[in-house]
Symmetry: C2
Subunit: 481 residues, 2 copies
């Protein structure tokens, strides 16, 4: 068994199991953690085994900002004075997560979101009942609530009353590690068997039903029988260049991969090899660390031809996608003195000039291009309007006097990407086959699946849907007989 194959093996060929469990969870990141808890809730007595490639729990979520996308009127939202409803949350997500987002997942997720918030709190997460307008990703302070998907910006602010839904635990900076430490500790309390440094290599099938997996631990092959089901919570595929080239080649250009080396697509490929179908494999989230401070968004973002291409006040993940997919990573932020503040990550102005003509020459934009863009922008900003991209009036002013530009080209700043495509699954985590029928015995959650965000994204949706549908998948696997 020195081979690297992820193709399934027949139960008869795999031989006598070395271990038997009821529910086998593959991966101890956000989705796997929730799957353990979900399985335990569904059956206080079932055997749960979780296998993790790394030396401990956490997965990609532990490296993330730690935002969790929740709404519909959570305790945090209410305490901060924001009205929200499952219906408004659904409307926003359907608009923001497309094209062709999974309507059933979104409706279910919005409907169950308040309860999910409470469940997370019950498992130890502490959200401060305070709001910050400054950021869309990690907070600088300890505030518990932020806009993390452009809900307060065009075009979403015209659809439904904006409500912030990015929930953050009461810690400064990136909090994914603490979210995962807390939740994994709760999951360990649920009494699963755990093996770290263990890679699941292939699924075991018996007459089309997934009945276990073959794993490798310290060079030793182990056959695991899962009586009720296998939950693939094995991450995405951003660390598999070949798979990215085949499915999502635009992401190859990006220079910062979000996740762990275990996000090599093995989970998705093991599922495909037993007949799973996949969805929107070209989709990727592209984080773009310009703000905080939000004041910088009073400047304008332009492409390599000096043209604006998006409203600057929208979610910076949307800006990142537009910059990478639409502009090939060739973008700049132009500011005047009134909109300048130091960027939180230390990104500053690469050029400062007295006039637009000098600035466009310095940057290497076509002569007159930035001047023309500024003319149109300033003409309308004077009236508090932005007919091109509908930036909110509070961030509009005429950009005059000396101008500066941040060099946001790919290679100059991090374009942090991870994959959003994966296997198609039901709201109970069942993996769908090519013909749309559930593959018996196989469940999945997290970035192994195409989730709430089909292509468009909001920060917090990954830990959000990983824990929400991971829990479902664990429960469904435990309930299967």
């Amino acid at each position: 068994m020195g081979e690297e194959t992820f193709l399934p093996i027949d139960a008869a060929e795999a031989g006598h199991p070395d271990l038997t469990t009821d529910v086998l969870v593959v991966g101890f990141g956000a989705a796997g953690t929730a799957a353990i808890l979900g399985a335990r809730e569904a059956d206080p007595d079932c055997d749960i085994l979780v296998l993790e490639r790394a030396g401990g729990p956490g997965g990609a979520a532990a490296q993330a900002g730690g935002i969790i996308y929740l709404g519909g009127g959570t305790a945090v939202q209410r305490a901060c004075g924001f009205d929200d409803s499952a219906e408004n949350m659904t409307t926003y997500l359907m608009a923001a997560c497309g094209p062709e987002p999974d309507e059933r997942k979104i409706a279910d997720y919005a409907e169950g979101s308040v309860a999910h918030h409470d469940w997370l709190v019950d498992h130890g997460l502490v959200f401060e009942h305070s709001f910050s307008q400054e950021t869309q990703m990690e907070t600088v302070g300890t505030e518990g609530l932020i806009y993390s998907g452009g809900e307060d910006a065009w075009p979403f602010n015209e659809l439904v009353p904006p409500a912030p839904r990015g929930h953050l635990i009461q810690t400064k900076g990136a909090t994914g590690w603490l979210v995962m430490k807390t939740l994994a500790s709760a999951a360990l309390g649920a009494g699963p068997h755990v093996a770290y440094d263990t890679t699941v290599e292939r699924l075991v099938v018996d007459d089309g039903v997934v009945v276990g997996a073959v794993a490798r631990r310290q060079g030793r092959r182990e056959v695991i029988r899962a009586r009720r089901g296998v939950v693939l919570a094995a991450g995405g595929f951003i660390w598999n260049d070949e798979m990215v080239a085949r499915a999502a080649p635009t992401l190859l250009k990006a220079n910062w991969k979000v996740g762990t080396e275990a996000d090599d697509g093995r989970g998705i490929q093991m599922a495909q090899a037993v007949g799973a179908r996949v969805k929107q494999m070209h989709a990727g989230e592209v984080a773009f660390p310009i703000i905080p401070p939000r004041k910088l968004m009073e400047g304008i973002l332009v492409n390599g031809r000096g043209q604006r291409f998006i409203n600057e006040d929208t979610y910076n993940g949307r800006i990142g996608q537009a910059a990478l997919y639409g502009e090939g990573g060739d973008v700049f932020l132009v500011i005047d003195e009134a909109s300048y503040e130091p960027n939180w990550m230390g990104i500053g102005a690469s050029w400062v000039c007295e006039t637009p003509a000098e600035l466009e020459a310095e940057i290497g934009l076509p002569a007159g291009s930035l001047e023309a863009t500024l003319d149109v922008y300033n003409r309308h900003a004077a009236n508090g309007e932005d007919p091109m991209f509908h930036k909110v009036p509070s961030l509009l002013h005429q950009l005059t006097g000396p101008l500066g530009a941040f060099d946001l080209r790919i290679g100059k700043i991090p374009y942090a990407v991870f994959t959003l495509g994966g296997v198609e699954s039901t709201t109970d985590g069942e993996v769908l086959g090519l013909d749309g029928r559930a593959i018996e015995g196989l469940f999945a959650a997290g970035r192994t699946t195409s989730g709430v965000a089909a292509f468009g994204y909001a920060s917090g949706l990954s830990i959000g849907d990983s824990t929400f549908f991971g829990r479902r998948a664990g429960a469904a696997a435990a309930a299967r007989r």
Copy 2:
């Protein structure tokens, strides 16, 4: 067997074959036609059976413009005075067909292109040794050679000396039907068994090897044994809305599907169901019927914000992709009197105004946006330059005086689309499994595969790679023992 499944069936379960052949070709379009001929060339004595869903041969190619992309110094190119080489053709295709095009297929295709031209001529196609600059799709006259991929426009004209490679047979208008009538007639001369009105529903496998297929003809199920191989030449998936929504949702917006109803993805799905892997399933060609006349390209294309977004002189399929994927189908062509001529399809100016300000108001563009775009364009056009998009100097002049605009928004004109994604195959047409190894007994060509054009496209590449690699696939199947 009333079910619609495309999942494979075991040979034992399928039962005794109703028919036995050496090579089974699924689909009698361009790829299937070439597969028949390739199989016959490889083995004068082998049995070939071709099954076609429609009542006769032709497939999508018969409805197409009929361009065939060939180069490297064909007789037509040489007679028209164009220098070309396999190396230049490879360089162009690598740049134009990405991101991440199939380097082996491209090199092979370019290397074998002159011979493929001669083979097509030997099988009855007549190319006039004349060139037209007017169009990039179908000719208005009977000229045999056109630019069909933007080879003479930026950025490709800076890479290698431009050479036109779109070959057209000596007939006016869309010639796909005659290309296919001629080639299918040659294929029929090769003596295959042929069944029309016959749908291949699933593959028959024996221990992982593809050994035949189950077909349905006039309500009757037939099991076909293929001793040497099955060639899937069953088209793409533009007529399968569910598959398009899952894999290439942007294409759902388009309003004209190119192909036949048999382009429902069944071929791709049958292959996936035996473990085939797929490539760039989100890719689609978007034809945009603005020119001829080429003179119209002296105008400027702008999006719904009055901004230019591409050089107008490039291949209109590239314009179509940029318009649909990049601008959401919200584009206009702005012309002055000097650049106006009636469009070949009857598309005319929807608005005519005395000034840019009036025109932008009429169209509904942001005030000042088109004016600013024209200012920059005219400033540089006066010097014969286009630093924004590098349109060739011969098509540059200042746009002044009364202006008109063509309404090219989706819904106003046809955005004609078909899918480019499909199974991954070798240069011999072998279908690759998820693990990168060829699936024994299974071959594919044409739009069932991801071909020469991974995402970027040139007109003629579909009939081009369908016939080139279809022939290879047929030969490889016939040679298999």
